[in-house]
Amino acid sequence: MTSFLTLLARNRLALAGGIVLSLVVLLALLTPVLPLADPDVTNTSNRFQPIFSDGAVLGTDHLGRDLLSRLMWGTRLSLAVGFAAAIVAATIGAGIGIVAGYYGGRIDNIIMRGVDMLMAFPYILLALAIVAALGPGLFNALIAVSAVNVPFFARNIRGITVGIAHKEFVDAARLAGLSNTRIILSEILPNVIPVIVIAMSTTIGWMILETAGLSFLGLGSQPPQADLGSMLGEARSALIANPHTSIVPGVMILIIVMSINLLGDGVRDALDPRLKSGALSRPMAATRVDRAEQPPAPTDQGLLEVKALETQFHIKDRIYRAVGGVDLSVEKGECLGIIGESGSGKSVTALSFMGLVASPPGVITGGAAYYEGEDLIGAPYKRLRDMRGRNVSYIFQDPLATLHPLYRVGDQLIEAIRAHRPIGREEGRAKAVELLNAVRIPNAEKRISDYPHEMSGGMRQRVGIAMALANDPDIIIADEPTTALDVTVQAQVLTILDDLRRSRGLAIVFITHDFGVVAQLCDRVAVMYAGRVVETGGTGDILDAPRHPYTARLMACVPELGGGKRRLEAIPGLPPVVDNLPAGCAFADRCDRAQDACRSGDIALAQTGNHAVRCLYPVAQEEIA
């Protein structure tokens, strides 16, 4: 709640709106105790007194009634009716929406078609019809304005409810023995209330206007009772001769509606989770680079060489060290595996090479990534864009999310090629077919005009690989490309990747959490933990004789097929959070070999031959055997 208020206060316009509105509401509440003239006492000899005249600060109207007093009482009434209408409309509309969305099927169909019929009428016509049927009067105007706004709430809330009703926690509540009514009240309602508040805050001003509109037409408040609409209506005939009688209520309506709308927008921005997470603030085209020190020089190791790479996320006043000094290299035709759990920084490392980490909040704060000796970190955007896809390309975990759902896969492939070189229609098509054949999609000529949803998961991931191949890159970075696939499909996709690297001399950086996959595909492996490489070396060496306790225990806790029923060697505890890393070894708290020395100072990656390990007390060979 406090965070909501600070968010709201940061929005200056909303804050101003909030202050003005509170003043107006306060005045309206205090009206009965203020020393005001009676608003309904007529004094025709004193009619049309100008503003600032004696005894009437805002003048008098055509019957000589005190305008200030009428304004205050009128505001009070208009606000009360507007708020009441909003609450009635929100309650009824949300109730209808929740019932329709929760039960679905026929109930949903009948209710929503009824709501659609209401919506088919122009709202003012509908309100007029309702008032005409019920007779003029403020209470009837309130009913009309509420009824007109019910469909808006019903539709909005129904949509949200449908999404929530299919969540697993609703199923869980059903299994816990809750009845439908209880599920609606205790599971669904608390989750839709924010949406109801947002919808109310943006429509309440509108409802005050609508009520004023009906009163203006003489269908709302009846004389002598004042509300803002009826005051305007009565002043209409004297608009030219005595404009102040219209201006006074008009300005008040303007102030109320403006302040409510500004505040409402602020409330929506502060409550809407999509806006809060910053998804609507567009990230920059390349990751921000802010290196304090000169990066280390390249040592001519391989096609891509990463040196002391550091990437951080700056969120509010916290710094998350996602990548804390990573060295890697990969050669032509080689496959490097990066293995680690979620949060170990493996994906952020791979995205940093080409400046693909979203900024804000991502910042590359140190190190370099040399592609054939050229530092990619801090390279101009134009250069990076030219290299993305042509020299280094990516394959992601979820092909359904990376392919555009509205374009045919062939067109998306051609677009990928066209991003780097001009190519004709026919030639593009031929190249696309060739690419699909290269990833062994059967019947490529025909499947080129499929939409992504018409393909199975395995086929879509093949298209993802074809797209990565489109511009003959030297390096493919594959970020968990088979995690979302079934095992039989995974085997096919891995075979394709393996063949490609052998036939085209591709370098592959393969990010995964699966030792089995690493063993089958990768030449070398780097094991990451809490943003750093803790062990690296040849795949065979590491899998046969892991030296870092984390690697050894991670391998031990994964069941392997063919082992039968058994107890697993779990690692106690959780990985550390990267905004608060302990001194020394990040794994020390979960490690049964840790000693005092492990908890202080920086522990270097110690190299022995091709095998390097960041540990003071590594597992010795004899212990494994």
């Binding site: 299994l175 023995g177 809750l178 759990e341 063993a519 806790c557 106690p572």
Partner: protein, 319 residues
């Protein structure tokens, strides 16, 4: 000995496509008529790839989906109402995604109290005691009770999910991919916890997963599902070590194993059968190297092979 769970000819057909007046234009058989039984205290593993009907089966077993045909018998008594509350006391469900199975706007205590209050009408004092007992058994601290779900990691949230299932005091748990959303180091913690709980409370598990190695590590028996039917069922140590159905063999060969070279286990470009237009014979025949004319014309039935296995194949693999 009574079976903990007995299914007879259980099946589920979903209508698909809608004409203008809401009549369905076709149907998909998500689960073909299926008979299974699980002994008290046993863990039956169910494996299969996406779309094989394993989640549909699980949802029918706890009453979240009414079956199209067949019966469910729990501890000797038939349950044919589709009221989840009636199921709730005898069979519970642990969800795949631990975070989304907890209502974000309720404290853990409120979540834990629901089954005690609604299924067992326990008074407040007894509830408090029972919750602390359960929390102790799943290794969670009681101070967590007043927090909200978003404050927990996946592994902790899954423990809470398991605790909630235990609170209902059901003796059978359906575990639907309970560890696939978790990191490997946390996955082992949760699997061990499940094994301990089974021993302590004499529980019966139905463990559903796509991860062959995990299923093998926790199950007594394993049933392999393909296209809505059980194609093979047998003791855990035999099913993948000595597969009898060609599909089981394909699965076992596809799983990446340290120390086995990468070889494509089957011909390229094979795709799953179309559920709207299923093949007349064995659903696997189009992908099967051993398929014959019989396989394409007639669907095989589950028949006993060896001491304790059953396989639905006309040409099973022998050792």
């Amino acid at each position: 000995m009574t079976k903990a769970l007995k299914l007879t000819d259980l099946s589920k057909t979903f209508p698909v496509g809608r004409s203008l007046f809401g009549k369905s234009t076709g149907s998909v058989k998500a689960v073909h008529p299926l008979s299974l039984s699980v002994e008290q205290g046993e863990t039956l593993g169910i494996v299969g790839e996406s779309g094989c009907g394993k989640s549909t089966l699980a949802r029918m077993l706890v009453g979240l989906l009414p079956p199209t045909t067949g019966q469910i018998e729990i501890e000797g008594a038939a349950l044919d109402t589709a009221d989840p509350a009636a199921f709730g006391k005898r069979i519970q469900y642990v969800f795949q995604d631990p975070i989304s199975s907890l209502n974000p706007r309720k404290t853990i205590r409120q979540i834990m109290e629901a089954p005690l209050k609604r299924l067992h009408q326990m008074p407040a004092e007894a509830r408090r005691k029972r919750i602390s007992e359960i929390f102790e058994s799943v290794n969670l601290r009681e101070e967590f009770l007043d927090r909200y779900p978003h404050e927990f990691s996946g592994g902790q949230a899954q423990r809470i999910g398991i605790a909630r299932a235990l609170a209902a005091n059901a003796r059978i748990l359906i575990l639907d991919e309970p560890v696939s959303a978790l990191d490997v180091s946390v996955q082992a913690q949760v699997l061990n916890l499940l094994a301990d709980l089974r021993k302590t409370f004499d529980l019966t598990y139905l463990f559903i997963s796509h991860d062959l190695a995990v299923v093998e590590a926790v199950s007594d028996r394993i049933a392999v599902l393909y296209f809505g039917s059980v194609v093979e069922i047998g003791p855990a140590e035999e099913v993948f070590a000595a597969p009898k159905h060609p599909y089981t063999k394909l699965l076992a060969d596809s799983a990446p194993v340290v120390g086995r070279a990468l070889t494509p286990p089957e011909a390229e470009g094979t795709e799953l059968p179309d559920p709207l237009n299923p093949p007349p014979g064995c659903a696997f025949s189009a992908r099967c190297p051993r398929a014959s004319e019989t396989c394409r014309a007639k669907a095989p039935r589950l028949t006993p092979v060896g001491a304790s296995s059953e396989v639905a194949c006309f040409h099973p693999l022998s050792e």
